[in-house]
Amino acid sequence: MVGKTYALYRKDYHSELRTRYAVNSLAMFIIVAISVILFSIGNEQITQSLTSGLFWVVIFFSAMSGLARAFVSEEERGTSLLLHLIAAPSTIFSGKLLFNLILVFCMNIIIAVLYTALFDAFIIRNFALFAVSFILGNIGLAVASTIIAAIISKAGAKGTLYPVLSFPILLPLILTSVQLTLYSNQGSSFADAKFELAIVLCYDVIMLTGSFMLFDFVWKD
């Protein structure tokens, strides 16, 4: 199963490299979103809590614009039947999840670097806390968006429906992650943030289990 998962990831990776559609549009989306925020801020001094909120606004909408591709492209090219033949549903989900995870990590690292460079209030004072919360938050984001992307692709790839369906599911994760980003910007210790970290960890585990159990029903027509 691990070999097939990796093979599926390699397939997505190579077909992505051929067109670079998702990567290019994501990169442009991040630049556009951040510049809109910078223009609207102007010369105002914004607080740390607002900056960490805006950080997750950009992450949420970038994820919504890029992560649906994984399954929608299979339906568009009509290759989902072939995937049915060669692999079990859980393997396919793992492959797509791996691809989305790597996409989310690359995307969010770029966003974090841009935020540190461009926003005065966004200074990471406790880097270890930021790294842990960032990794846990990204895993949750990738898992929840991948299963919703699978639902969307079967519903006929309605683009506007994707953020609508994802937002209520991602809401607990985003609310807690905003808090965690604020903590790491304020330089709080791990002891202050242990409750929030536990929430995000629980969210990841619950969503991962639920997605693997439910993906079979989505995938089999």
């Binding site: 929840a144 299963i147 919703i148 639902i151 079967k154 519903a155 006929g156 309605k158 429906l161 609508v164 369906l165 937002f167 209520p168 599911i169 809401l171 607990p172 609310l175 807690t176 808090q179 409750f195 929030e196 929430i199 629980c202 969210y203 619950i206 969503m207 639920g210 997605s211 439910l214 029903f217 989505v218 027509d221």
Partner: protein, 240 residues
């Protein structure tokens, strides 16, 4: 028939008692409610707001249970039951949100202040909205039933976060909210948040809950039977 008359009596009593019974500082007779400092007449909303919020959650739970049932048995009747439950759920959810917001205007000074309870009812409203948007986008019956069942189960997985966890990381104003003092969760010390109902108030409150729950199940059974009949008529008109 008997239970319909009972339901009528319960709801009539609750409506009259909830609206007309006076609130006095020291109650002497059975039809007087005690005064709660800071709430006054506003306290009466509990007889109508809490049952609607309760039913919107019950409807969500039933919709999820019938979704699981559908995924196990693939029987479209379960999908109709889940659909009927959600239809009622969104109505009660809107009612709970609106009555709560109007009450908050008078009790807290603003319609909306992102209290944990307000956040969770808002998330529930969004989930219902997204669920109906998903259903309306799919043509095929089986596909619609399967995908909406999966979505409803995933959405249900987020419920523990809103019910148990959000109140601990956000500041609460809502009656029944808890405070974190020295890292421990305790009942709030404010009389508005942690108020006690006396015997007759509790009686009216629980009668209201029971009455509204019976009303919900009645409406739900009419709802899903009408959906099933509609589908039957559609199929017959296709065959002729």
């Amino acid at each position: 028939m008997v239970w319909k008359i009972t339901l009528f009596i319960i709801l009539a009593f609750v409506s009259i008692a909830g609206i007309a019974f006076p609130i006095v500082p020291v109650p002497h007779t059975w039809y007087e409610f005690p005064l709660i400092p800071g709430l006054k007449e506003n306290a009466k909303i509990i007889f109508f707001h809490v049952p609607t919020a309760w039913l919107s959650v019950v409807a969500f739970l039933m919709s999820t249970i019938y979704s699981i049932q559908y995924l196990r048995k693939k029987n479209l009747d379960d999908d109709a039951k889940s659909y009927a439950a959600s239809q009622l759920g969104i109505i009660f959810c809107i009612l709970a949100t609106v009555t709560g917001a109007v009450w908050a205007k008078f009790a807290w000074g603003s319609f909306w202040s992102w209290d944990p309870r307000q956040t969770s009812i808002f998330a529930l409203l969004l989930i219902y909205g997204a669920w109906f948007a998903l259903r309306s986008s799919i043509e095929s019956e089986e596909k619609r039933a399967t995908l909406s069942a999966v979505y409803s189960i995933i959405a249900f997985l987020t419920v523990p976060f809103f019910v148990f966890i959000m109140p601990r990381i956000m500041l609460g104003l809502h009656p029944g909210a808890e405070e974190v003092v020295n890292g421990k969760v305790v009942a709030s010390s404010s009389p508005v948040i942690n108020f006690k109902m006396n015997g007759n108030m509790l009686l009216v409150f629980f009668l209201s809950l029971i009455g509204f729950t019976i009303l919900y199940f009645w409406m739900w059974s009419i709802g899903y039977r009408s959906i099933l009949l509609k589908e039957k008529i559609n199929k017959q008109s296709i065959t002729y």
